[in-house]
């Protein structure tokens, strides 16, 4: 246990719950009469309320982006290397809000929540939420704080998609959109990987069509497989080779199907540790949100037309070895922004760490974020 927390940490943090009773009409047609958003906040909202930064999480993320819940936590929040005093998102200057998305399993209303009037959990009956629905729910969270416009909305991967959607849906409420390792919509291959992950979960005999809570089981095996395949797409071939190569755990081939190669052991470990912290129904929902994300769809499939309404300034970042959402996908976003004559800067970071790069403190990446945030104007 550390005696004290690092000086550049936001320190001990506590999740908070915002309860909403105004019904939320979702893209799918369903209406959530009431719901909770679980969030964390770091730094101080200034009196002009213009220094707020919204952090949007990715597929398996949650509200715990920075700091520690307890002194003996093994790890800080998932983006702790980026958020804190003196860090790229400097909490000495900015007030950072990090919510768990609706449909999540981190404390916001989702499949694990008890459905009002039934005494039972939503389970598979929780409506499929979209990136637009999340933006809408996050806008209401901003209202709670009296935040008229975010200094920045920022996220990586699915989080970057939320930043993009924010800039389209609420042009007046986003001054800067920071879109990292994202894409304007999923490729066919992306959807294909998601479908394999979903089928892994849904074909687990413990899944019970999503009603596994009532059977007191968890589709552990399926969720583990889903995470394993996801993980392969998060890393590059090069980094897998460098980190694990073809190393054999026992030093020689055993002619069997146990764990032999180091990579097998690594993937199984990743899968197993995920099962303990993530809900299968949420995983299914999140992959669907990804598949459905396509802000251009309402504009005849034209991303430029979709972006014309934006007034935010943009920073777009990709990573050279990311093959899940490759640099070419980020450049599609940049191109649309250029077509609209919007302010945009773009950098492709040289990295062999694949899609996961966006979570890592790569020096050029963090220097770029720091330089960009340094120019964001906020009241004294």
């Amino acid at each position: 246990m550390p005696e004290s927390l690092p000086a550049d940490s936001v320190g001990l943090v506590e999740p908070r719950i915002a309860h909403f009773t105004t019904p939320l009409a979702l893209d799918c047609g369903a209406i959530l009469d009431a719901y909770d958003i679980c969030y964390e906040a770091y730094g101080t909202l200034n009196s002009a309320r213009d220094n707020a930064v919204l952090i949007c999480h990715a597929l398996s993320g949650d509200h715990h982006a920075a700091g520690y819940h307890a002194l003996d936590d093994a790890k800080p929040g998932w983006w702790d290397n980026c958020i804190g005093p003196g860090k790229p998102v400097d909490t000495n200057r900015f007030f950072v809000v990090s919510p768990n998305n609706l449909g999540g399993c981190g404390g916001s209303t989702g499949p694990l929540s008890v459905r009002p009037g039934t005494g039972k959990r939503y389970g598979p009956d929780f409506p499929i939420v979209t990136v637009r629905d999340w933006v809408e729910s996050q806008a209401r969270l901003a209202d709670e704080f009296g935040i008229e416009s975010w200094a920045a909305v920022m996220g990586g991967s699915l989080g970057g998609m939320q930043a993009l959607q924010w800039a389209i849906d609420y042009p007046a409420r986003v001054r800067h959109a920071i879109v990292i390792a994202a894409a304007p919509r999923l490729s066919t291959q992306n959807i294909a990987f998601n479908e394999v992950a979903r089928q892994a979960i849904r074909s687990d005999t413990n899944f019970h069509d999503g009603h596994y809570y009532e059977h007191d089981t968890v589709p552990e095996h399926g969720l583990k497989l889903a995470r394993m395949i996801g993980h392969i797409t998060y890393l590059s071939d090069d980094v897998l080779h460098t980190r694990f190569g073809r190393e054999l755990r026992s030093g020689k081939i055993a002619f069997g199907f146990g764990v032999e190669f180091e990579i097998e052991s690594y993937l199984r470990h990743q899968g197993e540790s995920f099962v303990g912290r993530f809900d299968a129904n949420t995983y299914l929902l999140m992959t669907k949100s990804l598949d459905y994300f396509d802000p251009a769809q309402r504009f005849d499939g034209n991303l430029t037309t979709a972006m014309e309404r934006c007034s935010a300034r943009f920073l777009v970042v990709s990573f050279s070895s990311d093959w899940r959402f490759s640099p070419a996908r980020s450049r599609e976003i940049v191109r649309a922004l250029l077509d609209c004559d919007l302010d945009v800067s773009y950098l492709d970071i040289e990295s062999d760490l694949g899609h996961d790069s966006f979570l890592l403190p790569i020096p050029d990446y963090h220097r770029v974020l720091k330089a960009y945030f340094g120019r964001i104007e906020v009241a004294g």
Binding site: L338, D341, V344, Y346, L347, D364, R367, A371, G374, R375
Partner: protein, 211 residues
């Protein structure tokens, strides 16, 4: 940064750029020129840069910067989308300078291109002595130079003529750092830096993009 701190060629170029125009600066470096143009001329635009250190410097200045390799072309930009496309002392390091020039005049109403002039008397002298020129503007030795396509003012004039490019104006920076616009005596001998203001004879839409 004030105007006096700009390189002489940048001071020249700034005079050619209309207030409030849209500028694309290819190989924009640390963004200081664009930043100065934004301040003094109210221009809007973007820099294109390949070096992450320079990109960080641009962001610190608040200059829009797009990470790209100019050798891969400028396909992300639409025809006629800028008033000026500026490229200072970069053309000589490009894989296909002629194609990039076409691209510049496809995107921009005008192009402003500068390059170190291999026809300068100091270069000619070194050649005459049997050596590859190494000068203030060409500091690299032959084996580690990024400058793979050196040319002279006369060479560049020929290229423009062969590709339907009209030279609107030409200026030179001589070895005393003097920027000279208009008619010049023996420009190919006196210019250390050549500064060209060019456009396509039939406008941006007619300029072909590189194949």
């Amino acid at each position: 940064m004030n105007a006096a701190a700009l390189r002489p060629e940048h001071r020249l170029i700034a005079e050619w750029i209309d207030k409030g125009s849209r500028v694309l600066d290819l190989g924009c470096g640390d963004g200081s020129f664009l930043s100065e143009l934004e301040r003094t001329k109210g221009v809007t635009g973007y820099g294109i840069e390949i070096d992450p250190n320079n990109i960080v410097a641009c962001l610190e200045r608040g200059v829009n910067v797009i990470h790209a390799n100019l050798d891969e072309g400028l396909g992300d930009f639409d025809a006629g989308s800028f008033d000026y496309v500026v490229m200072t002392q970069t053309v000589q390091a490009m894989r296909f300078p002629h194609q990039l020039l076409d691209d510049i005049l496809r995107i921009g109403r005008e192009g402003i291109v500068t390059f170190p002039n291999m026809g300068h008397w100091k270069c000619r002298l070194q050649f005459a002595l049997g050596r590859m020129p190494v000068t203030r503007h060409l500091p690299n030795t032959w084996y580690d130079t990024p400058n793979i396509h050196m040319c002279t003012i006369d060479d560049f004039d020929d290229l423009c003529a062969s590709r339907g490019i009209t030279v609107i104006e030409r200026a030179i920076v001589d070895s005393q750092h003097r920027a000279l616009i208009g008619m010049q005596l023996l420009p190919n001998l006196r210019a250390e830096i050549a500064v060209y203001r060019i456009r396509h004879r039939e406008g941006p839409q007619a300029a072909s993009s590189p194949s």
